[in-house]
Symmetry: D2
């Protein structure tokens, strides 16, 4: 599990006074990017090789509202993966009190030129090694 | 069913060249707001009465990528509702070719001062009338 | 002058209850994109030719607050241009009462591979013809 | 001067492959919020007292493009202030090479119920003390 710490931005709030629900997917993304980086997979390097990994499915349950100025912890796990996809799960907590704010899940496919592709073995083995840990 | 037409904004794209997946929830919201308006329920009026309707659960499946400058159609249905919640489903299509881009679902609760509340009868009957149609 | 009509989205508000100031630049962009389209210049076509037009300078004065659900009119003029840059000015008004919400200005340069380039004559003449009108 | 360190998010990029220009104002805001916090002025506390501080004017010059995954440093100074307004200036640099990405300026007014108000003396003296330093 990888934990990323972020601070809630003013612009992330809406007129109901709490963080707009769409922003949690942007936080999940920061967890996912960091997970992959620590596994040795850089998005920019992948993109230079022509491999994209579009999101095909997401979900989120909201338990409590994140508020402006909260520090949040984004806990990210890879719960399933293969040569063609990655499934991540997330928990977002308020740092101050540990309260669970949201849980979510996302699925990425690997694609080249818009078609599903298999992740090159060198990257796949990195994912494997990192995720077994 | 309510249909809202929107145009994809440049800022909604990301460096993969397509619309960032989080933005679909912002489009769903436009469909939901319009559905409620046509039913006779204005968010600002509700908020003035102290009734909020936070999102508690969302999901989305992405079928094809929306691109910059596409006109999109956001088709919104209320598929379940009660005095304490509303469940909406969405289909987003590219107008030019009718291709399905994404399908999604969201759940709102009604709350007052952070606690679940029952939607006042006058609003509930508006929802009923509009949704039966 | 080109006028684009938009509706204020819920997500564009912040916890002060009005539209976050950064969003006006996203509206200006919609005006600019439409201006260029009507002039016959499509961003995607330019990008395919390797011509980008990064923003180098922007400013905005805020006169009154846009609110959720307002219809706004984005009035866009090209006030200066050459083979290497375009300067646009904007006025954003609330449609309901005509109140001026914001005025702004932006400058784009034309670049290829990160270096300033001259706009190809065919595009430049389109800009000229459209702007004289 | 206050320095805030941020990481460029994937969602902040656009299809030109760099950070969308509107996002710099969101970064400036993070610098401004942190400046005020260190001075002892919390936005939420002010809002509870009915004091808002809408932005009335902003500008930004873009010198070089921030890219996905860059760490950036947002350097914030208060360059002018009175009982009714605050003027901040900003420099955003890429941490890795110190390159200046953007410079900007923003002006806030203090308001209560939509009218210009004078900042209460207790807050004003905090601003003074912190800014003299």
């Amino acid at each position: 599990m990888i934990t990323v710490r972020e601070k809630v931005r003013f612009v992330e709030t809406d007129m109901m006074g709490v963080v707009h629900h769409s922003n949690y997917f942007r936080w999940f993304e920061m967890g996912r990017v960091e997970y992959l980086r620590q596994a040795g997979i850089l998005l920019t390097e992948m993109m230079e090789r022509g491999i994209l990994f579009p999101i095909t499915e997401v979900s989120c349950k909201y338990h409590s509202s994140a508020k402006f100025d909260d520090y949040i912890l984004i806990e990210t796990k890879m719960i399933d993966y293969s040569r063609v996809k990655m499934v991540f799960s997330y928990e977002v907590r308020r740092e101050a009190d540990g309260i669970l704010l949201a849980t979510g899940q996302t699925t990425n496919l690997f694609t080249t030129n818009g078609k599903i592709t298999r992740l090159p073995a060198e990257y796949y083995s990195k994912l494997e090694k990192f995720t077994v840990k």
